[in-house]
């Protein structure tokens, strides 16, 4: 079944600075929406507004046409991967899986996962950055939610883990819609099915990669490697 997430009229200011002036974006099941933008353009804030943990001056979030002002308070709607680590450090990974994942078969499949299985008796601070990020993403993907928002899933990862994370996202695409933001535009471009650029407080739908240079997101000539 296809689901639709629509976000429009998002307005947000910090003091006198208008961060988001009129954002519109749409994501369906199967979409991987890559959200690009320069530092401080409001990407993380926008994801938090969509998730519902940051309140904007104005925002209109709908899931399947129904208004949903705080999606995170409603189970099974949206999951969110923050930039920072969020798993508790005082319990073992086995326990984290047990309390975070509801479905028995999903629990089992994570515990038997080739990259997670060997670490079940460890604490999260005993994992490397890449292993931890992979675990966080795998946990969120196994939640029974319609959409997943990811804030910098590739950040600070070695190339091998970036590839694994991209594979993981693509593997769950048939059941969920994704909005991903990262400064690693290579992985965003190669993983996404549509690209949006957040600039001057609005989201611009990128039809051709050249626009990323025209809109001053990338320096001229950067895209030569993609052609």
């Amino acid at each position: 079944m296809k689901h639709l997430l629509e976000v429009d009229s998002v307005q947000m200011s910090y003091g006198t600075k208008e961060l988001l002036t009129d954002v519109y974006l749409k994501c369906e099941t199967g979409d991987i929406t890559g959200l690009l933008g320069r530092n401080g353009s409001g990407k993380s804030t926008l994801l938090k507004i969509i998730f519902g943990t940051v309140t904007a001056a104005n925002s209109n979030i709908r899931i399947n046409g129904k208004p949903c002002p705080y999606p995170y308070k409603q189970k099974d709607q949206i999951a969110y991967l923050p930039q920072h680590r969020f798993l508790p450090a005082d319990i073992r990974i086995r326990k984290i899986i047990d309390i975070f994942i509801g479905a028995k078969d999903a629990k089992q499949s994570i515990k038997e996962h080739e990259r997670i299985g060997p670490h079940l008796n460890k604490y999260v601070n005993q994992l490397s950055g890449g292993e931890l990020r992979y675990l966080e993403i795998l946990l969120l993907l196994n939640l029974d939610v319609k959409f997943v928002l990811m804030d910098e899933p590739f950040s600070g990862m070695e190339p091998l883990y970036r590839e694994r994370i991209a594979e993981l996202i693509k593997a769950y695409r048939h059941t969920k819609g994704f909005i991903i933001t990262d400064h690693d535009y290579h992985n965003i471009i190669s993983t996404s099915t549509q690209i949006m650029l957040l600039t001057n407080g609005v989201c611009k739908h990128i039809q051709s990669l050249d626009q990323l240079e025209q809109l001053n997101y990338l320096p001229p000539g950067t895209l030569a490697e993609f052609y």
Partner: protein, 100 residues
């Protein structure tokens, strides 16, 4: 999930309330009643607030663990507070039975 949040925050609260209770015990010429009254009072007021403050200070980022399961901060705090009430009820009943 909720039990994990309860344990994470209330560990500090219980420890803090025991310490304040001990101070009351010593200050009130070794009165066990002073210890108990201060302990329970702290558990539901200052100790509780301080435990939330320190959790916020140290583990603020972990709230996303709960948010992803549909628990808002307000809901977590309210449920944690309510989970303390049965303990108080047990104490009150025991107090009546013992006749303190």
């Amino acid at each position: 999930m909720l039990l994990h949040y309860f344990r994470s925050t209330q560990r500090f609260n219980i420890l803090f309330s025991v310490v304040t209770g001990v101070f009351a015990y010593v200050g009130a010429e070794r009165s066990i009643l002073a210890f108990l009254n201060t302990f329970w009072c702290s558990l539901f007021t200052g100790g509780f607030l301080l435990s939330l403050f320190f959790y916020e200070l140290r583990y603020k980022r972990q709230y996303y663990f709960y948010y992803n399961k549909g628990y808002s901060k307000l809901r977590l705090i309210t449920l944690t507070y309510l989970m303390l009430l049965p303990l108080l009820a047990v104490y009150m009943i025991a107090k009546k039975i013992i006749g303190l």
